[in-house]
Structures are given as structure tokens and as C-alpha cells.
């Protein structure tokens, strides 16, 4: 998988068009988001409408730490300032880890508060969580409040060329991490436990599956991966507003991409993202960025009718029927 990721990176680098990295970053970022969503939504059966909030918590931990680094001298006593200057500004990989931790904690909290909620009630609670967190961020002046905050992206990354390439490479690494995690879970004891919860929680409990604990693991893991995807985002976008970080498209795309690709296996979110993400980027350039959500809506309706188990489900069914004939 790492080899494939490296090959893709080199391939995109070949034509030396910066735009490919800009567009590619968004698609690969959605691979992480969709895969993260699928750990909770696809494997465990709990639909999360608040993906944008987890993504934004990752992004805003970066904003907060970057702002802190900028205003270090005003914020801390002079005696400690030099010490902190050694640590700050933090490198992006460190910020990714921190973003993951923050969103992981939020995920754990959400899981803990919604332990007894199932189905539509859980989905509504996640939506509410997103609204609450957005309100908090809008009212938090330190990270720019409703006006947003600038994060200055360095022009170059030593050894790689443009900083965008560095960000892209990092996101590629995250995508590999997310996919490996999803694949490992799917084939493990944990994966079977998740599947049992998705299918029938009461029967799972009667079979000895500690359903509450497993749900917490799923919400934490899923949240942490989303936060990791969000952490480099301020450097990518340069100027972060609550409306963009908590944007509807993150919540919708994180659901639509696994649904279109197939939720039962780690391949599904990857396939769905590559298809939908690429289409969106093409529509962005050729038609307009407003078409994106329309595209998602139409494709989602189409897939729910024609292939409710997504592309992977469709292919598996074909292979299965051929195999039994």
C-alpha cells in the first residue's frame, strides 16, 4: 500500500503542475474522512452526521497552536518564552497527532454521551454535537471567532519543493494509515464484534460482545482519524473560517463516499472517494463548485436505488452469482 502511495505521488509530481497537488490533496483527504466514517458507520452501523465537527476540531487545534506560537511572547512570562520557542511552532506531523488526540477525545465523549442512543437518535445527536462545537468555535476569539484566522503556509519545504507537495505527501501517508487500520480491524476480533453490533446489538451482547466498550472504541478511532485529516487543513487553505471547517460538504461527503463505494469493506470508501472526489474536482474546474453537492445528491440517490451495497457490494454479488452457477 505504501508502494502504491509513493507511485501515485511520483506520478502526480511528474507533470509539475501544482494544481494536481491542490486537487489531489482534497481527494486524499476524503479518503481519510470516508474511511474514518466507515469504521463507525459501516462496520458498527452508527451513522455519524457530525464528521465536519471532528474534522474541524483537528483543524482548529492547529489554528489554536499556530496562533499560540505566533503570540508566544505576549502570552507567556518572559522566563519561559525561550524554552517554548524551542518547541513552537510545531511541525505538521506533531499537529496531526495532536488533532487526532483532540478529536479522539471528542469522539470518546460523544460515544459516552450517546451510548444508549440508536439509529436515527444517534444520528441526530451527532448533528447536534456539530452545531454545539461550531457555536463554541464561533465564540472563541483566540482562534478568530466567526471572522476566521490566517495561518501562513511556508512557501517551500526543504527537499521536496513546494509546501503543497509536502502537505499532499503527509495526507497520502495518513490515507495509508487509515486504510491499513480499517483493513486490520475488518479482519480482526474487533471487526467481528463491530459487525455483530451492526447486525443486532441485543444478540451481540448475549453472545458476550461488550457492546458499550466496542462502541466507544469505534467512536474514538473514527473521530481521531477525522481529526488527523483536519489538522493540516489550515495550512492547506491558508485562511480558516468556522463555516468552511464545519462545512456541510464534509458531513455529506463522508457519508456519501462510503455509501457509493460500499460500507462492508475497507475498499468501499476508497473506491467511492476516488470516484466521487475526482468527479467533484472535475466539476469544480469545468462547471462550478456549487455543482458538487448536487452531484453527490444525484449519485447517492442513484446508488441507493441501483446498488444499495455500493460498488464493492455490486461486484461481490456478480462474482458470487457467477461462482455458484
Amino acid at each position: 500500500m505504501i508502494a502504491v502511495a509513493t507511485a501515485i505521488f511520483l506520478l502526480i509530481r511528474a507533470p509539475d503542475v501544482e494544481y494536481f497537488f491542490v486537487a489531489g490533496y482534497t481527494i486524499v483527504q476524503y479518503v481519510v474522512l470516508a474511511t474514518a466514517w466507515n469504521i463507525l458507520g459501516g462496520y458498527t452501523g452508527y451513522v455519524n452526521f457530525g464528521s465536519a465537527a471532528f474534522f474541524a476540531m483537528g483543524a482548529y487545534s492547529t489554528v489554536a497552536l499556530a496562533t499560540f506560537a505566533n503570540e508566544l511572547d505576549d502570552l507567556v512570562p518572559e522566563s519561559i518564552a525561550p524554552l517554548l520557542h524551542v518547541i513552537f511552532p510545531l511541525s505538521i506531523p506533531t499537529l496531526i497527532v495532536i488533532g487526532g488526540l483532540v478529536s479522539g477525545v471528542v469522539g470518546f465523549g460523544m460515544g459516552y454521551l450517546t451510548l444508549r442512543l440508536r439509529g436515527a437518535f444517534f444520528a441526530i445527536a451527532t448533528l447536534a454535537l456539530a452545531v454545539v462545537l461550531q457555536t463554541l468555535v464561533v465564540n472563541w476569539e483566540f482562534v478568530g471567532g466567526s471572522g476566521g484566522a490566517y495561518v501562513v503556509r511556508p512557501g517551500e519545504f526543504p527537499g521536496l519543493g513546494s509546501y503543497m507537495q509536502y502537505l499532499f505527501a503527509l495526507m497520502m501517508g495518513l490515507a495509508v494509515l487509515a486504510l491499513v487500520a480499517a483493513r486490520t480491524i475488518e479482519r480482526s476480533r474487533l471487526g467481528y464484534g463491530f459487525a455483530a453490533i451492526r447486525d443486532d446489538e441485543l444478540a451481540a451482547e448475549a453472545s458476550g460482545v461488550p457492546t458499550l466498550r466496542l462502541k466507544l472504541i469505534a467512536t474514538t478511532l473514527s473521530g481521531a482519524l477525522m481529526g488527523m485529516a483536519g489538522a493540516p487543513f489550515p495550512y492547506y487553505i491558508g485562511y480558516l473560517q468556522p463555516q468552511s471547517a464545519f462545512g456541510l460538504e464534509y458531513a455529506v461527503n463522508s457519508i456519501a463516499m462510503p455509501m457509493i463505494g460500499g460500507t462492508m469493506s475497507w475498499v468501499g470508501p476508497l473506491v467511492g472517494t476516488l470516484l466521487l472526489g475526482t468527479l467533484q474536482q472535475i466539476a469544480n474546474v469545468t462547471i462550478s463548485s456549487a455543482v458538487n453537492l448536487l452531484l453527490v445528491g444525484l449519485l447517492l440517490i442513484g446508488f441507493v436505488i441501483v446498488a444499495p451495497n455500493g460498488i464493492v457490494g455490486l461486484v461481490q454479488d456478480r462474482l458470487w452469482t457467477r461462482g455458484t452457477k
Binding site: R189, Y192, G193, A195, A196, R198, D199, D200, L202, A203, A204, E205, A206, S207, G208, V209, P210, T211, L212, M264
Partner: protein, 243 residues
Amino acid sequence: MSPILHVQGVSKRFGGFVALDEIDLEVQPGERLGLIGPNGSGKSTLVNCICGTLQNETGTVRFDGHVVDGLAAHERTHRGLARSFQLPRPFPSLTLADNLRIPMLYTVHTRSGPLHADNIEARCAELLEMVGLASKARQKPRDLTQVEMRKLELARAMAAEPKLLIADESMAGLSHSEIDDILALLVRLNESGITVILIEHIMTAVMSFSQRLAVLVSGKKIADGKPEQVVRDPEVVRAYLGE
């Protein structure tokens, strides 16, 4: 011998409705107990209180010498309490073999350490063989008939290697020969050392299976003893046939 299951003064209310009223029940290791009662008499509520799906408000449930009140359902399963559901509740997206894998991965694993993958495969095959579903191991539950679904339900309960099995109406809606099938299966399980509580409406099945019979009516236990005596008990007759 100390009882494997000891239910003492267990009560459960749903709002103003008393579903269980001070139930006492003892089950000896290796016993075959029949639990009967009209619809709504509290049989399933009692099972839910024993298995931890519901928590009883008063009284205690002792299993295998330990008080299990307050323990979650999965913890009781880990200790050796298994149940089948009144309406079969398979894991629909998993194959039959994987349905049995869940209790092995979670209950047997927790109790006696990790199982080797080959052992799990072999045990799945053995259990499916026992209930006559070996040829369908790779199929999904939606391909099964009613009676096969009941058998899968029992096989999954057995996969947890329980000490006590509670079979909640595992024969309702089945034909005579199918009932005999399930009965034979339960007797075989019992002969292998597992205590069985059978909850059933079909009296011929209960009478041929049970060594002892307990009767619940409106949340109260009104009779407990030898099956032949219990069914002649005037109170039981009144509960079933009216005055």
C-alpha cells in the same frame, strides 16, 4: 449439591405493571427444567432478568455460586449463562460459520484465552454439524428456513460453551417432526452436562423434556415440582383453563 442458578425474591415492574412478583427459583446442575405459563405471565421477563438484558429491582440472582446482579448481559454470558431468543436474532450480514464465531471470539476467548484460528474453524464446523447445518456454513441466515433458524440460534448459544442454557420458546410455530428434532438436540446437550431451562407453550414437548416444571402466572410462581403433579395442580389447571 448447591444450585447452579438461584433466583431469590426477584421483582420487576414496568411503570405500574408488576411483571415479576417475588420470584424464587432454584435449578440444580445438570437439571432439565420446564418453565411454563400463559402469555404475558412474565416468563421472558424472568429470562431477561436472569441474563442481564433487564435488571431486576429487588431480589438477587446467583449463578454458579456468585451474585450476578448489576452485571451486564455480556458479563453473564462470559460466566456461562447462554440463551436463545424467542424470535431468532441471527447476525444477518455474517455467514452461519461467522455467526458462531462471535461467541467464540468474545466469550470463550475471554474465559479461557485466545483460540487458534484452526480451532475456531473446527469448532464452528462441529457445532453446525451437530445441528445439521454443516452444508450451509458459508450461507447467510436469510437462506434458512424457520426450523434451521432456531437451530442456528441454539448453535450460537452453544458456541459460548455455557453451563446453563435457557431456550426461550425455541419450538413455537414448528411442525411435530421439527419439534422432535429440537427436543432431541436439547436432550443431547443436557446429556453432555449442560443444565437446560426450557420455556415452552407446547405441552407435549415440555412434558417429555422436563424433569421438573415451574409455572408462572401473572408474575407469580404458582407451582414447582414433578411435571405429572404440577399439571394436575388445581391452581395450574385454573390458570390455564379458567374456572
